[in-house]
Amino acid sequence: MTKTVSAKAVSEDDVQKIIALAKDAHVQELSLHEGSMHVRVVLTREAEASRNAPQGFAEVNNLMEVVAPLAAQFLPHHPCHPNSGVRVGQSVRRGDLIGFLLSGPLLTPLVSPCNGVISQLLAEPNMRVGYGTALVSIAKKI
């Protein structure tokens, strides 16, 4: 498979599309060259998991794992309300806020994809996390 991509046009969206294309074509590795630019995309298991979880979550061993839909800093609570935030053992409902991602000044929500109980916080507070990193696991309530 050969694809020419202008360096100026490569965005995070493009990278996600490339990962999706690579997976659909069963390609494990892609190398892109333009002038002095060289981008190598290796399809890892994490990338596959995130590709399968476009909503920012993945089901692993009967646990729902909420994953980072973008690279950012993980915050378990809102910066203005340090005493808020979910705790292990806490019941949550589908749509509840269970954390935040901070990217520059922008705060984006982590939303519970199901009714259940917080099983584990998989990332440390304030940790830099990459796209697809598992952050919170939820035991689904059936």
Binding site: D13, L70, H78, P79, C80, H81, G95, L97, L102, S103, G104, P105, L106, L107, T108, P109, L110, V111
Partner: protein, 333 residues
Amino acid sequence: MIKISYTIGLSTIQDLGRDENYRHGVSIGGAMDRLALQMGNALLGNAKTAAAIEVTLFPIKFEILSSVNIAVTGADCAIELDGKQINPNWAFHAEKGQTLSLSKLNSGSFAYVHLAGGIDVPEVLGSRSTYLRCAFGGLDGRMLQNGDVIKSLPEADPFPPIAPGGFGAISPALALPQPSHASVGTNDAITMLRYLPAAEHDYFDKASLDALVTAPWQITPQSSRAGYRLAGPNLAMTDKLEMRSHGIVPGVIQVPPGGAPIIQTADSQTSGGYPKIGTVIDADMWRLAQTRIGNQICFQKTSYEEALAAYREMNKFIDKVRALSKAYRDLLK
């Protein structure tokens, strides 16, 4: 479209104000916290000058008459949509029939409720801001009342309903922490305001100039959208100064004969005859607006270069919020 279902008054429609007619004696007006106003517009992708509802007294409730993307910025208060908590400085989608309420203030004074597209009221002298003293602008030149229906303008870049959970930005107080004060140090309970010396600064006696930068000043109940009157040591001049009325702008610190300073704010009159000891820099006026009556402020002298740097830093923050909000909204499309 939303309806005011409960208000106890004083809330108005405000934008960035009108400065084209200052020479005719028309106040600039506009939002008391211009940074919060710009932040809501940035989150929703509205024009920088779009108007919002400035909430002054809490609680206030709105009935959503047609589905709309909303942002609430400014004061940290309890925000609920149909009883579900919404974070401060947050953009979210509200469905027809839902109730948005703003109640208990945690910190700050003025909250802003923005509708995608901006609020649709006629422009008067180049602004949609309400000027209560002269009863024009906003909605019929008056404060909002129960039953008022507020419409929004068409969006320049229409955006589908914001996904559940919404999104937002960190508060300006976190993004732009106030600098340390020479006497007070770092104390978030006291608002630090940087000022530039004004024309009559050097006519004040040494004790007054010292007191200005060392004393904590309390915001008195004799404060309004026109100005904040302060309580503290009385400021005195070395000699009596005869002055004619002259132009003043928001931020000017006037000292009437009693010696208690008044900081001019959004609805400041356009001229005054009291001596001016300083002018609070533009980049700190939002901090003053969000300091509640009864709370304390302190002053710190700054330079023109530092004032410009602070102004640029503030604008850079807003530009970042606007750019990243657009990127996130595009990601959700």
